[in-house]
């Protein structure tokens, strides 16, 4: 194992921790999506680091490009849902989404 591989994965874990912390504590839906974005950035770096370490960087790049496309679609859909929820509830607070509560 080279040192660069190690520092890459330390960075990956730290970024995923930051994203997870934001997801756990944020009440604002847009901030939660920012946390999700941070986590996907960590996963992107994990893909490329693993590809670089085992010499299959081309395969990693193709996977990352596919992942980025899926990420954009999911974020766009999520933001559209956030906007609709905001129009309906006049709030971005996730704790106020109790309309379906029986």
């Amino acid at each position: 194992m080279n040192n660069f591989f190690g520092i890459d994965f330390i960075t990956v874990i730290l970024v995923i921790c930051i994203g997870l912390y934001t997801l756990l504590l944020a009440k604002n839906m847009i901030r939660m999506l920012i946390g999700y974005e941070l986590m996907t950035k960590g996963v992107t770096l994990a893909f490329i680091s693993a590809g670089n370490a085992n010499g299959r960087i081309a395969l990693s790049q193709t996977l990352v490009i596919t992942m980025i496309v899926v990420e954009v679609v999911s974020i766009a859909t999520a933001l559209a849902i956030v906007m609709l929820i905001q129009k309906k509830n006049h709030s971005l607070n996730i704790r106020k989404l109790t309309n379906l509560k029986g």
């Binding site: 930051i18 504590l25 999506l33 992107t44 693993a50 790049q61 956030v82 905001q86």
Partner: protein
């Protein structure tokens, strides 16, 4: 170890922390944009220019525009929420920098024992998809499992009962 790798890692990590703890959403999105630029530089450094270009154009370009668009379209918080937000915002995220430094120190001093176990094995050319996935892409699977857990957490968050309504 080369100094520029540390600079790139800090250029990636510090905007990530700022994106998480910033009080204003617009500043968070700008920090996320800078974080994407930092990740792009790291990808270029890891010999992945194509993924870097995609990251730069799509994540720091398109996604930032989408976020800013939605922030401009949604209304600001109500008066009570704004007061509560200002009071509690930094308290909620106070532990984050300390947590990051703590985890970073633990990982840095235990990296040989932690990452030494992640050995990447060679597979034959006619190996099955399962063999390739588990032997060479095991590290990626960890990331995918984490993303799946995030999805589960998102669903749990959406459907859990609020404290005030119990």
């Amino acid at each position: 170890m080369k100094l520029h790798i540390f600079i790139l890692v800090f250029l990636f990590l510090i905007p990530a922390v700022l994106a998480a703890i910033s009080k204003y959403l617009l500043r968070s999105v700008i920090a996320l944009l800078v974080c994407s630029v930092g990740l792009t530089l790291l990808l270029f450094n890891l010999n992945a220019p194509l993924a870097g270009v995609f990251e730069l154009s799509v994540c720091s370009g398109l996604i930032s525009v989408l976020f800013i668009n939605i922030i401009s379209l949604t209304q600001p918080l109500s008066g009570d929420e704004e007061v509560s937000k200002v009071k509690n915002h930094y308290q909620r995220f106070l532990a984050l920098p300390f947590l990051i430094i703590f985890i970073g120190i633990i990982l840095w001093f235990n990296q040989d024992s932690l990452f030494g176990t992640l050995v990447i094995q060679k597979v034959s050319e006619n190996a099955t998809v399962g063999e390739i996935l588990w032997r060479t892409r095991g590290l990626d699977l960890i990331g995918q499992v984490i993303i799946l857990l995030v999805g589960v957490y998102g669903i749990v968050t959406l459907f859990r009962r609020g404290k005030s309504n119990e």
